[in-house]
Symmetry: C2
Subunit: 324 residues, 2 copies
C-alpha cells in the first residue's frame, strides 16, 4: 500500500530539483524563498493520493501536483501583501524581506510557472484540466476579494462566510483531488466525488483553523492562540457570536471589538468567555464535523477496491483530527 510519506518524499525531491528560473535573480529568488519555507504540502499530496487510487503510475501526477502547490504559494505571496502580513510560516514575508514590487512581480511569475507545470499533463487531458484550473484559480481570487470586503462589514452572514471560505480555500482542495482523479484515469462520477470531497473537507479544514485559533493547544498550534480575536478577524466564531448574541453579550462583544487599547490576554479571555456562553465552540465543532463527514462520505462512495482508497481515507481522517 502506498504511504503518504513516500509520496511526500517524491514531491520533496522534485521541488528541490525545480529551478523556476535564473535571470534576473531578483525575480526568481523570492520564488525559491517562499517555496523553501515548506508548509505541509498537503494540496499536492491530495493530488498524488487521488491519482494513486486509479493508477500505479502516480509519478505522472507529480508535476501537475506541484502546479497546485506553486499556485497556492503564489496566492500566499500576493495575499500577504494585501494583508500586510509580516510573517509567513514564522519567516519574513516576501514583501517584508524584499519589497511589495518584488512580491507582486515574483508572484505573477509564480502563477505563470504553475501553468508551466501543468504542461506535463497528457495532451488528451490537458485542455480539460486547464479549464478547471482557470475556473478554480479565478474562484480563489474571488474568495480573497470577498475576504477583504468582509473586513469592513459587520453584517456578514454565516452563509456569506461559508461561501467565501469555499472560494478562498476549499475549491483548490477540491481541484487538487479532482486533478489526481483525472490524471489517474478515474471515471466521471468518481472525479465529481473527489472534487466534492475536497470541497467539503476544505470548508471543514478552514472552520477548524478558525476554531484552533481560539481553542488550539499553544504548544501544538504554532501560531499565537487568540490572534484572530486580538485583530477582530471575522472568523466563523465571531460571525456566529455576533448573530447569536443577546443584548447583554452583544454589548460586551462590541466593547471588546471597539477597544483601541487593551490587554491582549484580557481581550482573548473576554471574547472567549462570550463564545463559551453562546455555545459557539460546540456549534463550530458540530459544523466542522458535518463538513468532514460529508467529505469523507464522498470518498467512501468511490466505487473502487477499499484497499486502493485507504491511504487517501487515512490521510483525510488525519486532517480531521489535526491540532495544528
Amino acid at each position: 500500500m502506498i504511504k503518504p510519506e513516500q509520496l511526500l518524499q517524491a514531491l520533496q525531491i522534485e521541488f528541490e530539483k525545480q529551478s523556476y528560473g535564473e535571470h534576473p535573480i531578483e525575480l526568481y529568488e523570492p520564488i525559491r524563498y517562499i517555496m523553501s519555507l515548506g508548509g505541509k504540502r498537503f494540496r499536492p499530496l491530495l493530488t498524488l493520493l487521488a491519482a494513486s487510487i486509479y493508477s500505479d503510475d502516480w509519478e505522472n501526477a507529480i508535476k501537475p501536483a506541484m502546479a497546485v502547490e506553486v499556485f497556492h504559494n503564489f496566492t500566499l505571496m500576493h495575499d500577504d501583501i494585501m494583508d500586510q502580513a509580516p510573517l509567513r510560516r514564522g519567516k519574513p514575508t516576501v514583501h517584508e524581506k524584499w519589497n511589495a514590487n518584488t512580491a507582486i512581480l515574483s508572484g505573477d511569475v509564480m502563477l505563470i510557472k504553475a501553468y508551466d507545470l501543468l504542461l506535463d499533463i497528457p495532451a488528451e487531458k490537458f485542455r480539460r484540466v486547464l479549464e478547471r484550473f482557470n475556473k478554480t484559480a479565478a474562484e480563489v481570487c474571488e474568495g480573497q476579494q470577498l475576504d477583504m470586503n468582509f473586513e469592513t462589514r459587520w453584517d456578514v452572514t454565516e452563509e456569506e462566510y461559508l461561501g467565501m471560505i469555499r472560494l478562498k480555500t476549499s475549491v483548490l482542495l477540491g481541484f487538487a483531488l479532482e486533478l489526481g482523479g483525472i490524471i489517474g484515469g478515474a471515471d466521471e462520477e468518481s472525479i465529481q466525488l473527489l472534487y466534492s470531497a475536497g470541497e467539503n473537507m476544505g470548508i471543514g479544514f478552514q472552520l477548524k483553523d478558525d476554531l484552533l485559533d481560539v481553542y488550539g493547544d499553544p504548544d501544538k498550534f504554532g501560531k499565537q492562540v487568540g490572534g484572530d480575536i486580538i485583530s477582530n478577524k471575522k472568523t466563523f466564531l465571531l460571525i456566529e457570536a455576533l448573530s447569536k448574541a443577546d443584548s447583554n453579550s452583544k454589548t460586551e462583544l462590541d466593547k471588546w471589538i471597539g477597544l483601541e487599547n487593551f490587554d491582549k490576554q484580557e481581550k482573548v479571555a473576554g471574547v472567549t468567555a462570550i463564545y463559551e456562553e453562546l455555545g459557539i465552540r460546540a456549534f463550530t465543532e458540530q459544523k466542522i464535523q458535518e463538513y468532514f463527514t460529508k467529505g469523507l462520505s464522498s470518498l467512501h462512495a468511490l466505487k473502487i477496491d477499499e484497499r486502493r482508497k485507504k491511504p487517501l481515507l487515512q490521510f483525510a481522517e488525519q486532517l480531521v483530527e489535526r491540532e495544528k
Copy 2:
C-alpha cells in the same frame, strides 16, 4: 483584401461582449475599466493580420488575439502599481481609482482570464501555444524586473538596455504574430519569421517611443514631450548620451540629472541640447531604422502570395512611421 479596420472592428465587438466575471464586483469592475480605456489594440490586430495571411477564417484567432491584449493590460495594471503611475491613457490608474490591493488582485484575475481566452485554440495547437505563451509571459515579467533594476543603476549598457526592451516589449509582439501564424496554419519557417518580425519591430517600436518622448510633435504625441528627461528615465537616448559624452558634456548631463529643483522646460532644453551635440537623435533614428528594416525583411521573406501579406506589411509600415 482584408483591411485592418475590419479586423479592429471585429475585435471591438468581441471586447464589448466579453464579461470577464461578475461577482464580486470589486474584482471585475477594474478589469472592465482598464479594458475600456482603449489603446491601439495593435497586439491583437497583429495576431489577426498574421492569421489572415494563412487563412480566410481569421475569426478563429479572435479569442486568442484577445488573450494577448488582456495579458498586455494585466501587465499595465501591475506595472502601474510598481511604477506608482497616476495616469494610464489619460485616466486614473486602477490603484489610484481604487487601491493597490484591488489592482493586484484584479490583475491576477486578468492573467487567469488571458489563459481562459486561449482555451479557444483547437486542441492540436493548444499545448504548443500554451508553452510559447508561458515563456513569453515570464519574459515580459523578467523585462519589467530588469527595467526596475536599471532605475538605480548608472552603468546600464546599450546591450543591456536592448535586452531589457526585447523582454519587456518586443517578445509579446513577436508572440502576437507567431500566434496568428500558428492558428492560421503557417509552416514552421513562416512562424519563426513572424516571431522574428515582431521581435525586431518591437525593439524599433520601443526605441521610437524613447525618441518621440523628446522629439515628438506635442500636438500629436499625446503625452508631455520631455517627460522622460524630467524624470531621469533611463531611455536609449540617455544611455547613449551617458556613454558617448566627453568630460564637458558628461559634467553638464550629470548636473541636470542631479538637480533636485529645476525649471522643467530648462532641463528638457538643456538635456536635448546635449543629445544634439552628441548626435544622439541621428544615432537613435538609425537604430530604429535598422530594427524596423530587419523586422520588415522577415515579413518580406514569408513565402506566400504578396497580396496576402500586404495588409500586415502596410500596417507594419504605419508602425514605423507613427508619430504618437
